[in-house]
């Protein structure tokens, strides 16, 4: 857990508390501190596990930091950066949907039908955005071994705070492949293992390379870069048809019971049961009936509503297929000619001569 704490790990190393830098000149102090920072794993950037739990943790930790970002942001913290601004961008995205629903819900019983639609619409909208991203991320991870959402911990340097040049650090959680221009290739190297390129080698295998490569990292980087760009573009393209389906589904009858009063009533009834197990059981049942069951039902209803709906659904499915085929075929190394590692390279007249010379030199010595 300590790996995920944002400021505490720094305090834990009380030898300095901060890593110091003095001005901009490379001084002895700075060199020493840099070396110390290298020695302390908690002060280095680090790729984190791709497991769902790890992603959930980073999301939770980032979300928990939002109030702090907001507070410091409102004060105009000189250390506030673009990362924090982007994180704050999640607030309007989530709050906006809720307020939109309330703007209809306040319209009373007359607007109840419209309000249902908006609540279902807002929930399905978020769900479908997620689905549109997964439609690309999942095949890419499955067939190319690249988890586009793999998190990494970044230790961000803050402004120097004293004459010694002390620069505190803050923890940020980014995604390894979030930037095309500054992809964190460095975090993919295996520094401690036997082979620096072992992760790249694995990726090469996943990308259908026929044989072992000489420099798997430099061979793969441009291809992965291209894959990131394509994946981002297709994910962006898929948003429009996916949210169209979301709203189409939200307009269907199965969501008619999704009113504030019926949801409230459902949970009140569930919690009036005796015993925690019973309460949980009926609360789960209410959640299922109000929020889960209508999903497949409304999809079927939307499909049957008109031909345009069928066109949108089939078109979206086709687009997902085309997108994945395009990305996967472009990132495949099957037909590429790749230089194998030196020890596995076939012998040519030139290499034979070099070998002979080496042997001679060795013999002379």
């Amino acid at each position: 857990m300590s790996n995920f704490s944002i400021n505490k790990p720094i305090q834990k190393y009380n030898y300095q508390r901060y890593v110091s830098f003095k001005g901009n000149e490379p001084t002895e102090d700075k060199k020493q501190n840099n070396e110390k920072a290298q020695e302390v794993p908690n002060l280095q950037d680090k790729a984190l596990s791709s497991s769902p739990l790890s992603k959930l943790k980073t999301t939770a930790l980032t979300t928990a930091k939002l109030p702090e970002y907001a507070y410091r942001g409102l004060k105009g913290d000189q250390n506030a950066n673009f990362y924090e601004f982007l994180q704050l961008g999640n607030i309007p995205y989530l709050v906006g949907g809720g307020v939109l629903y309330k703007c209809f819900d306040w319209g009373g019983k007359g607007a109840a039908k419209n309000a249902n639609l908006k609540l279902a619409g807002v929930l399905l909208y978020y769900g479908m955005i997620k689905a549109s991203q997964m439609a690309i991320d999942t095949p890419v991870k499955m067939f190319r071994g690249i988890d586009l959402n793999q998190p990494y911990r970044h230790m961000s340097d803050l402004k120097v705070i004293d004459k010694k040049g002390t620069s505190p650090k803050r923890t940020e959680y980014h995604k390894l492949y979030e930037s095309v221009d500054f992809t964190r290739w460095d975090l993919l190297y295996d520094r401690n293992g036997k082979k620096v390129n072992s992760k790249y080698d694995k990726l090469a295998h996943k990308m259908n390379a026929n044989e072992e490569m000489n420099d798997s990292d430099s061979s793969l980087k441009p291809r992965i870069r291209s894959l990131i760009i394509q994946a981002k573009a297709y994910k962006t393209l898929l948003i429009a048809p996916f949210v169209t389906i979301a709203i189409g589904m939200a307009s269907q009858k199965p969501w008619e019971n999704l009113t504030t009063s019926s949801i409230k009533e459902g949970y009140q009834k569930a919690f009036s049961n005796k015993g925690i197990l019973n309460k949980a059981k009926y609360a789960g049942l209410t959640t299922y009936q109000h929020f889960v069951k209508p999903i497949p039902d409304s999809f079927k209803a939307y499909w049957g509503s008109n031909k345009t709906a069928q066109g949108v659904i089939l078109g979206t499915a086709a687009l997902v297929g085309i997108a994945n085929l395009h990305i996967l075929s472009k990132s495949s190394l099957k037909k590429e000619k790749i230089a194998p590692p030196p020890d596995k390279q076939p012998e040519t007249a030139q290499t034979k001569e070099v070998k002979k010379e080496n042997v001679k030199e060795g013999g002379n010595k």
């Binding site: 942001g73 004060k75 105009g76 607030i91 221009d181 760009i229 048809p241 709203i247």
Partner: protein, 622 residues
């Protein structure tokens, strides 16, 4: 002087540098954008589309990929608006979905410009919406990333202007750096404020804007619909204009392809039902198709694969007749149709609230009336009506309110009657079973619908103008008048009419409830009451259950005054509550925004003081 490299790369550039120490280096080509041409949105969108295409092929940068979101958001929102519009029955609500789309984007764009950018600029001189173009031609927001601000693009004059605005001492050292610190602080504050408020301001502003625009949009769409329907109607019945037969049908008529012809007309009939029947009268649903089917059967007879000339002409006439029927029903729907989006339905829809105002119901009355049970509501309305001082003036005003909608309703009725008379022969001779087992022609059905709508409007709205007359003649019955024809009073009337006892009371009640109707209509009511099972204007036939009789008569009687006023009060109250909630949250958002802006640029623990006279900036203090 520029540095020249030898083509064979044998001369190292370092050598040139060392020899020319006073050399000018390439200056950054970036610049602040002072004025953008109006067309920049078009060129930006074009460039982004190009970037999109490249990105799909795997080419791009963080910058180009970042811009793709704008197009995706726009396309996604258009998809949403189109889907919602498709789900809405009326054209005005379809239009409103696109208005909602527009107001949403307008709010998203206007909030940071008008409500954050402008006041921040007025207070501090910092323009948080300032854009710049970098050396690579990429357009970005100048203060987007607080850790990377291209200060060299800002002139000293501009920096001094901002420093003056923020009261930085003119004599201080490093004034420019201190100003940069302050601008950075303000930019972080404004960006944070923007992110914290956008989630509230966008839906709130969008709702308020859409609510303000709604009446105009509705009126515009309705006017357009009516004009369009009228034009189509005139064209369809204009003998000088030839109606062109669908070439596909014409081909089948010539070749005598009976099966195809049957399919074609089945489709035409179904379209008439789908378009009009459910909206006009539930009982008449699927009946328009019957007129077409009957006529088709009578034309085709037993023909299977060839048609004589008479049959061919009759089929062409049938095609033209279906077109006429379509246009006439289309006009009915656009004007008198009992559905959202029909011009007159909406015009009448505004009347109840206007009447409520004229009858001097204040906010307290409206709140009470909207939540009262029917007995209390009846008492409240009766009390209110009997307490009106200048009631003649009030009655005149009530009459004024209904004058325009009534005139338009009568006008539409006359237009439909005029064209309906021109429907002769063919499918218009056919009869179909409707509602309660009656055989009706197309014209009968249409005229019944028209009369019903007119009577309904007349009964509901004109009745209100009679409250003064009722109050004067039978003051005790004002409450009975207000409550209208309830189940009980209907039963009482029924008994009185059948038993013939107390004819005076019977006449009194008839006058009370139906005095606003013409003598003919009053006689019809009396007739219907006396013998519900006989055929009246509403064809009350044998075997009809009492519920249906009551339903038909109630429909004829319109909405009762109490329900009418209570509904209006409820609508008004709901709207008031909605405005209250949206207004309160908007006010809170504005207040928060205003306070935050007022605090911007002030010293705090994250931004130490830089204002001391002749003092230093934050960097120098360390």
């Amino acid at each position: 002087m520029s540095i020249k490299f030898a083509s064979n790369n044998t001369v190292l550039p370092q050598a040139s540098f060392s020899q020319n120490e006073d050399k000018e280096y390439n200056k950054p080509k970036g610049h602040l954008i002072e004025h953008q041409p109006i067309t920049h949105h078009i060129t930006d969108t074009y460039n982004t589309t190009k970037d999109f295409y490249k990105a799909l092929k795997g080419e791009g940068t963080d910058y180009t990929l970042g811009r793709l979101n704008d197009i995706a958001t726009m396309a996604g929102s258009l998809g949403i608006a189109a889907t919602l519009a498709k789900a809405n029955p009326s054209k005005s609500s379809k239009a409103m979905e696109f208005v909602g789309f527009g107001t949403w984007f307008a709010s998203m764009a206007l909030w940071p410009k008008l409500f954050i950018g402008m006041p921040v600029k007025a207070k501090t001189g910092v323009d948080i919406n300032q854009q710049y173009v970098d050396s690579y031609g990429r357009k970005k927001r100048f203060l987007e990333d607080a850790q990377y601000i291209p200060w060299d693009l800002v002139s000293d004059k501009k920096m001094n202007h901002i420093a003056d605005k923020m009261n930085l001492p003119k004599t201080m050292k490093n004034r420019r750096e201190a100003t940069e610190d302050k601008i950075r602080q303000v930019s972080v504050q404004a960006n944070t404020l923007w992110m914290l408020t956008a989630g509230l301001s966008t839906p709130l502003m969008s709702s308020l804007l859409a609510d303000t625009l709604q009446p105009y949009v509705k009126a515009g769409v309705e006017k357009h619909n009516i004009n369009k329907a009228q034009q189509a109607l005139e064209n369809a019945f204009d003998s000088k204009k030839e109606i062109k037969i669908d070439p596909k049908l014409e081909k089948n008529i010539k070749s005598g392809n009976v099966a195809e012809i049957k399919d074609y007309f089945a489709n035409v009939g179904q379209k008439l039902n789908d378009k009009y029947a459910p909206k006009l009268n539930d009982k008449a649903a699927v009946k328009y198709k019957n007129f077409v089917d009957s006529e088709l059967t009578s034309i085709l007879g037993n023909s299977k694969d060839s048609l004589n000339l008479g049959q061919q002409n009759a089929l062409k006439t049938l095609y033209k007749d279906t077109d006429k029927a379509d246009k006439l029903l289309g006009y009915f729907k656009a004007t008198l149709g009992d559905c959202e989006g029909s011009g007159l339905a909406n015009e009448w829809g505004k009347v109840p609230q206007k009447m409520l105002n004229t009858l001097q119901f204040n906010k307290k009355d409206i709140k009470e009336l909207s939540s009262a049970n029917s007995e209390d509501a009846a008492k409240l309305v009766t009390k209110k009506l009997s307490s009106l001082k200048d009631d003649t003036h009030v009655v005149n005003k009530l009459a004024d309110i209904i004058q325009n909608p009534l005139e338009n309703t009568v006008k539409a009725q006359k237009t439909i009657e005029k064209y309906s008379k021109m429907l002769t022969g063919g499918m218009f001779n056919q009869k179909s079973t409707v509602g309660y087992g009656e055989q009706k022609s197309f014209q009968d059905l249409l005229n019944t619908n028209v009369v019903e709508r007119l009577d309904d409007a007349n009964s509901t709205f004109r009745r209100m103008t009679r409250f003064q007359e009722v109050a004067k003649s039978t003051p005790n019955d004002l409450k009975t008048f207000v409550k209208g024809v309830s189940d009980n009073s209907f039963h009482e009337l029924n008994l009185l009419s059948k038993q013939g006892q107390n004819p005076k009371r019977y006449e009194e009640l008839i006058k009370l409830h139906f005095g606003h109707l013409s003598d003919d209509h009053q006689n019809f009511i009396k007739n219907a009451l006396r013998n519900q099972k006989s055929k009246g204007a509403y064809e009350l036939s044998e075997g009809l259950n009492p519920k249906d009789v009551y339903k038909i008569q109630k429909q004829f009687l319109g909405q009762q005054p109490l329900g009418f006023l209570q509904d209006a009060a409820k609508q008004k109250q709901v709207y008031k509550n909605w405005k209250g909630a949206v207004g309160a949250l908007s006010a809170a958002t504005l207040l928060f925004t205003a306070i935050t802006i007022a605090m911007m640029g002030k010293t705090n623990k994250y931004n130490p003081d830089v204002k001391s006279e002749g003092g230093t900036n934050t960097n120098e203090q360390h």
